[in-house]
């Protein structure tokens, strides 16, 4: 059930990437299928990885989660090694492996979810003391991602972590404290980096600075408004002619809105909701605490990111650069998401070897 929306979104993404990027790809690379080909390079291995994730024994996944997180942290740090890390648009977020560029943060968010699931499964967050180790891990990951800098992924991961921690049985008073702490962190970050204040204002009135901070959002508005309720029809985007920045990645949803209108957007949102509910249902049906928290956590990561992306594109929250899971162009990102979908789906099937779990139900 969780595979269907994931694959459907990936395939729809492929079509939309073609539509959004054919013009710019032809101009820049002389090949209108440039981004489509790159995406296929992520999609095909991604589907294999999804199957692999589905089949992968979850008990081993649990054992490996610590190592996975350690590997993620090393990769995140590796971004800053000159020659290995790649800087674009003023941020160093990518590792260039020659044939493919890879964002370690994509892997790190799922590794963190798995690590927290394992940790909370053995030590549920009952007191402040129980939170020290998990939050130290979280802090290490977030610090590295913020250093890139990548504010949006930092926020997305923080939100996901909060959801997992709450799901793990966090006391109500901690929820309040953590929420206050998270809310307090936002102004602190804004003060630390004033360009975020401008970005924040741009979201409230993009026309104040139509050429700078407000530009992306205005272009997204033009796409959605230009499409109107029923859209311009597939491949008829007007904004893809270089007006809409990152049309094939961060703003792919704007192109969906422009070409397919509100019905197309509702389809995408419905697919995400089906995905999320399938993920949550999977988690709910688990008797094992790790499996439950891992399924929930990985679903939460995808849900938060999808929601944030759509919120940014529709001008509901301040603009941040965050791709739409499964749909945005980005081969390594797609591979990771498909793998994650496979892993979540893997929790649905009972594994005979694990039918008697060690921790019992919680």
């Amino acid at each position: 059930m969780i595979i269907v929306p994931a694959v459907a979104l990936s395939l729809l993404g492929l079509v939309m990437i073609y539509s959004a990027s054919s013009y710019s790809a032809l101009l820049s690379y002389g090949d209108r299928f440039f981004y489509v080909k790159k995406q296929l390079l992520g999609l095909i291995p991604g589907l294999l990885m999804m199957y692999f994730g589905y089949k992968f024994p979850k008990e081993r996944l649990k054992k490996l989660s610590g190592w996975l997180l350690a590997a993620s942290v090393i990769l995140l740090a590796a971004v800053f090694i000159p020659g290995l890390g790649q800087t674009s648009y003023g941020a160093t977020r990518w590792i260039n492996l020659g044939f493919i560029t890879f964002q370690p943060s994509e892997l790190a968010k799922f590794a963190l979810a798995l690590f927290l699931a394992k940790r909370y499964a053995s030590k549920p967050p009952r007191s402040a003391k129980d939170l020290i180790v998990p939050f130290a891990a979280v802090a290490a990951v977030l610090a590295l991602i913020m250093a890139e800098p990548n504010m949006s992924v930092t926020l997305a991961i923080a939100a996901s972590v909060l959801l997992i921690t709450v799901a793990a049985g966090l006391d109500n008073k901690f929820i309040v404290v953590l929420t206050i702490f998270a809310l307090a962190a936002v102004p602190a970050l804004i003060i630390a980096e004033p360009y975020r204040v401008r970005r924040l204002l741009a979201f409230l009135d993009p026309w104040e600075n139509p050429r700078d901070e407000g530009y992306q959002l205005i272009q997204s508005y033009y796409a959605i408004g230009g499409g109107g309720f029923f859209g311009r029809g597939l491949f008829n985007s007007r904004q893809k002619y270089l007006f809409l920045p990152f049309a094939e990645s961060d703003f792919i949803f704007s192109v969906v809105a422009e070409e397919l209108g509100v019905p197309g957007c509702l389809l995408v949102i419905a697919l995400f909701i089906v995905f999320i509910y399938a993920g949550i249902k999977t988690a709910y049906l688990q008797t094992d605490a790790f499996r439950r928290l891992a399924a929930f956590g990985m679903t939460a990561v995808i849900a938060v990111q999808a929601l944030m992306n759509i919120a940014v594109v529709t001008g509901s929250v301040p603009p941040t650069g965050l791709p739409l899971p499964f749909m945005s162009a980005g081969g390594s990102s797609l591979m990771v998401f498909l793998t994650a979908a496979g892993v979540i789906a893997g929790f649905q099937k009972r594994e005979p070897s694990e039918s008697h779990n060690r921790f019992g139900s919680s």
């Binding site: 508005y221 309720f229 007007r238 002619y241 007006f243 809105a257 509100v262 759509i310 919120a311 001008g315």
Partner: protein, 547 residues
């Protein structure tokens, strides 16, 4: 639950943008989706009262092609060569060349240009060449004015009426990408502009031509620094002719010498003030008669000069005019009579009268840069000053102010505003018509009548004899003023004027003729009056008053 709620909220925002804000967003976005190449609106024409074109617009287009944007070169070459009457083989060769842009044809008409745009051949670009044409060349030059090279009014009516004449520009809109490249299958369409409004003047080209001739001849005959003339309708203030020399051909504006251009393009008849001299006696007479200070029994004595405030004021005739009535004084243009008249009127009545006659404020004629009369501040006027103002010294005004005041004096006593523009009309209808309402009354009908008789005597028996025309009763007044330079009288430099109206008993037309710095003879009666006579002679013949 929370996630569903947030998704619903975001979807609501999405629907709001897509459905509610869509209209206004699309309007804003259109600006970036289309690159527009403006097509200038056709500038309105200016014509005389009979529809004779005095200024008109001509536009032609140059068509270009960018070969890289034309995939089907043979087809394009066939269509273009046929429609533009070009050599097919040569055009095909050009379209296959590596040049980024080729000129297809210059001087293409608007209809043809639109036909090419509609033909669907891609990669065609248009540029427009605008031209303003003045069919008569050096004619009504300072009044019409001229435009800049991109056809924006710079002087005269072209500038004053710019907003009417210019219209609303159209555009060729091409769907293009962020940096202005035409889209692969991008549509191009034409947005129609609005043609500028056409202006009809009160000017009569025939009368203007008569006046232009007189002005040019006076310029030559007297080796003058400048000559100007205006003919106006007495009742309406409609300006029938206004000419000045030196001048220039509006089709060949001498832009190289900016200071010279500023000098010759300025309508001095409305912008520059001068000390009018005896022609101003028309106003003094009207005020004196209106005040009841004049009658046939009253005698005035001129001994060649009169002393006021211990200053000796000379009459132009050194041996004096002896004892005269006021009528004789007007006929003789005797300064002593007008000194006495001004002093009898007193400062208050005189200054109020000048204001009522409008020589202290702009007339409101439709030209940029109108000047205003200058008077000594009322508080500083001594008797000797008032005495001089009585015969047109120690006061300055523009020729158009003087003519308008004189018109008021003889037309039955009501104020007129000189009007150049009769009608402004565009495709939507008439935007302006000049009214024919009479202005407010300044002097009584009978005062005006008395004055007309006196001024007719000037032409019949006095200093204005040279303005007489057989078969037409003409009234008028001469004026010869010494010019001042740096506050001192400039020796040998005069402004000679004549203001004449006809027919004298029931004036229909009033004319001012002025010669600036004539060489040789300089009396207004000799230098200016004959031209007014000549103008009336020709005018009345043209108007059919004389067989």
């Amino acid at each position: 639950m929370l996630i569903t709620f947030l998704f619903v909220a975001v979807t609501a925002k999405l629907v709001y943008i897509a459905a509610v804000s869509a209209g206004s967003l699309r309007v804003k976005a259109l600006e970036q989706w289309y690159r527009d190449v403006p097509i200038r609106a056709e500038r309105g024409a200016i014509s005389d009262r009979n529809g004779v074109a005095l200024a008109k617009s001509e536009s032609a287009y140059t068509l270009y092609a960018r070969p890289v944007e034309i995939p089907l070169k043979e087809q394009a070459a066939r269509i273009l060569s046929e429609k533009l009457e070009l050599n097919y083989a040569r055009l095909k060769e050009k379209l296959n060349s590596k040049s980024s842009e080729i000129t297809l044809k210059r001087g293409v008409t608007k209809e043809k240009m639109l036909e090419i745009i509609d033909s669907g051949v891609p990669g065609i670009y248009v540029s427009e060449d605008l031209k303003r044409v003045y069919p008569y060349g050096d004619f009504l030059t300072q009044v019409l004015g001229f435009t800049s090279s991109d056809v924006v009014g710079q002087t005269g009516l072209e500038r004053y009426l710019e907003n009417y004449l210019k219209g609303v520009d159209g555009a060729v809109l091409t769907a293009s990408d962020l940096v202005g490249r035409r889209l692969p299958d991008g549509e191009t369409y034409y947005r129609e502009g609005v043609k500028g409004a056409d202006v009809t003047l009160n000017i009569d080209a025939n009368i203007q031509s008569i006046v232009e001739n007189a002005v040019k001849r006076a310029m030559l005959n007297h080796s003058a620094k400048g000559v100007g003339a205006i003919v106006m309708e007495c009742d309406t203030g409609a300006v029938l002719a206004m000419a000045e020399s030196p001048s220039f051909d509006l089709n060949a504006v001498p832009r190289d010498d900016v200071s010279l251009l500023l000098e010759v393009s300025r309508p001095k008849l409305i912008s520059d003030v001068f000390e009018p001299g005896s022609t101003f006696k028309i106003v003094t007479s009207a005020l004196a008669i209106e005040a009841g200070l004049v009658n046939d029994e009253k005698r005035y004595y001129c001994g060649g000069s009169v002393t006021v405030d211990n200053q000796k004021i000379r009459c132009w005739r050194a041996k004096g005019h002896g004892s005269q009535t006021f009528t004789e004084g007007v006929k003789n243009s005797c300064n002593c009579v007008f000194v006495q008249a001004a002093l009898e009127l007193g400062l208050d009545r005189f200054y109020d009268g000048m204001e009522a006659f409008g020589v202290t404020e702009k007339t409101g004629i439709e030209l940029p840069g109108e000047g205003t009369g200058l008077t000594i501040p009322k508080g500083s006027v001594k008797n000797v000053d008032l005495a001089r103002i009585g015969f047109g010294q120690a006061v300055a005004m523009t020729p158009i102010e003087l003519l308008s005041a004189s018109c008021t004096a003889v037309n039955g006593g009501y104020k007129v505003t000189p009007k150049l523009v009769a009608k402004i009309e565009d495709e939507s209808g008439i935007l302006y018509t000049c009214g024919s309402d009479k202005g407010k009354r300044v002097i009584s009908e009978s005062t005006s009548k008395t004055l007309r008789a006196m001024l007719e005597a000037v032409v019949l028996e006095g200093s204005g004899k040279n303005a007489a025309v057989d078969g037409v009763r003409v009234g008028g007044k001469t004026g010869t003023a010494q010019k001042y330079e740096d506050g001192k009288i400039a020796r040998g430099k005069y402004v000679s004027t004549f203001i004449g109206f006809a027919p004298a008993d029931e004036p229909k037309y009033i004319a001012l003729f002025m010669v600036d710095e004539p060489v040789g003879a300089y009396y207004g009666g000799v230098v200016a009056a004959p031209y007014v006579g000549e103008i009336y002679q020709n005018m009345f013949e043209y108007l059919g008053y004389m067989s």
